[in-house]
Amino acid sequence: MDIVFQQVSYIYQPNSPFEHQALKNLSFSIASGSFVAIVGHTGSGKSTLIQHLNGLLRPTVGELRIGEYQLKANEKLANIKALRRQVGVVFQYPEHQLFEETVEKDIAFGPKNFGIASADIERRIPQVMKAVNLPLDLLKRSPFELSGGQMRRVAIAGVLALEPTLLVLDEPTAGLDPKGQLEIMDMFAALHKQKGLTTVLVTHNMEDALKYADHVIILENGTKYLEGKPEDIFIEKEKLESVQLDLPEEIQFLQTFQQRFGLSIPYRGQSITELAHEIKQRLEGMNQNE
């Protein structure tokens, strides 16, 4: 689903001493099928933004469009449930939303609410368990007996079981171990490709943004600070540092490498292993020239 924000502003608790404008005149558009990373430091409005994507929040000013659904200030969307059926949201610490007696029932909860036939749900459950890499014998266990990491996976499975066309992820790997983080992110990336999803990822992790996204939006204090392709955005060292963001490790390394050794290697999305290989080849080439 494509997403278009047109001058969206959002104000929390208007006309009170706690009034806070979390989004300011935000405009951007996301093509259907893209993988977008939303980056910004804490309090920049990332979570507020994504809550607009399934109508949990409505803009205070401005309007936005998600696929065929139009969300405007002061106008209730009549078929909000139809929108939510297509938008899967994995919130920060989604394990807090588990409540059913068994893992199986919790995964089935979402699809059931949206009126999906039980035969269909039964087909989906083993699929999503496999996607989040959990053994099927956990299905009959209580979600509260599981480890933190397993609970996270169950919660994610519960969202995937909705088979959304727009997948929204709010720091989905925060607090997981490095191996778990990689596994989960790779799973989202695979799903994105395989099902042709539109994916919106909120993250603090610049390496993830660089690795998985094809479009990056940087928020600062509720406004759009930078937007573009990750390879273009993540070389703007000064601009990023002035909003307390780091460069991804790979690019940081390449820039320092160039300063120290005067050898410039352009970044084209190489992985760490590929980069090591490339540097080795270059060095060998130099040796032969001498």
Binding site: Y12, Q13, N15, S16, P17, F18, Q51, N54, L56, K81, R84, R85, V87, G88, V89, F91, P94, H96, Q97, L98, F99, F109, G110, K112, N113, F114, F144, G158, V159, L162
Partner: protein
């Protein structure tokens, strides 16, 4: 957190009222609640209203915000007024509404009772608007201190109070977060038949309780690990102390009370 009700809400600021010692505020409000019942004519009611409204202005909190925050109370105030208007039969008949006679005494009494009600709520709200929960419990602990002599667990009571107050905002945030998560999974809290809406509360309540128990356990563990031991011999980071400002406030309040007894009939 989006609710507009301000009862129990603290609004940070640095006004004179905010800086008063919480014990002074607590006792003043307590006495005010009692003395309101001594007002019995226009002058004494006016006198107390001037005091209450001046106090409200001194908090530097937007007056409109306070008034709007008392909306649910307004309903009660107006209801009380109407009740008195139609039930009291004293004085002369002024006019008739839908064939019901309205007496002058009813108008006066209804007005007085509603005003009294309003003053009570206003003053108690001012207290919670300008005093942090921690300050309130500290004040209660110190004020109840003499009860220790009869083995009343003052410190434990105060600790229980401050822990509960501390976690109210956390619970509210948690409620909002979980209800949004469940709404995204297709739960409808706002429309649909009543039965379904009641059922929709289950996926909200269970995670809330699980979270609250987990948090309580963690807190107990952390207190245990740091060797927490209440009451005897425990010192405070911020000692409450009565300063010049507090003495002046007490003096002003004394003048208000004396004035009240001079003005009433």
């Amino acid at each position: 957190m989006s609710s507009k009700i301000i009862i129990g809400q603290y609004v940070p600021s640095n006004s004179v009222i905010h800086r008063l010692d919480p014990r002074v505020k607590l006792v003043t409000v307590f006495l005010f609640v009692i003395f309101v019942f001594f007002a019995n004519n226009t002058l004494s009611y006016g006198w107390l209203s001037v005091f209450a409204i001046t106090s409200a202005l001194l908090t530097k909190i937007n007056l409109k915000y306070i008034i709007r925050g008392l909306t649910p109370i307004w309903f009660l105030v107006i209801f009380t007024f109407l009740l008195h208007l139609f039930v009291t039969h004293e004085g002369q008949i002024l006019f008739q509404i839908f064939g019901l006679p309205i007496y002058s005494g009813a108008l006066i009494q209804g007005g007085a009772i509603s005003l009294r009600f309003f003053l009570l709520i206003l003053m108690t709200s001012l207290m919670t608007l300008t005093t942090t929960p921690i300050e309130i419990t500290d004040a209660i602990e110190l004020l109840l201190h003499p009860l220790k002599k009869i083995k009343f667990p003052v410190h434990e009571l105060a600790l229980m109070m401050s822990i509960s107050l501390r976690f109210i905002p956390t619970l509210m945030q948690e409620t909002e977060k979980i209800s949004k998560a469940q709404a995204s999974r297709g739960v409808d809290f706002k429309t649909g038949p009543l039965k379904e809406r009641i059922q929709a509360v289950v996926p909200l309540l269970i995670p809330l309780f699980v979270g609250a128990f987990k948090r309580a356990e963690e807190l107990a563990m952390a207190m245990e690990a740091r060797g927490y031991q209440g009451g005897e011999g425990r010192t405070k980071l911020r000692e409450l102390s009565i300063r010049r400002l507090d003495w002046s406030a007490m003096l002003v309040f004394l003048v208000v009370i004396i004035g009240l007894f001079l003005f009433r009939q």
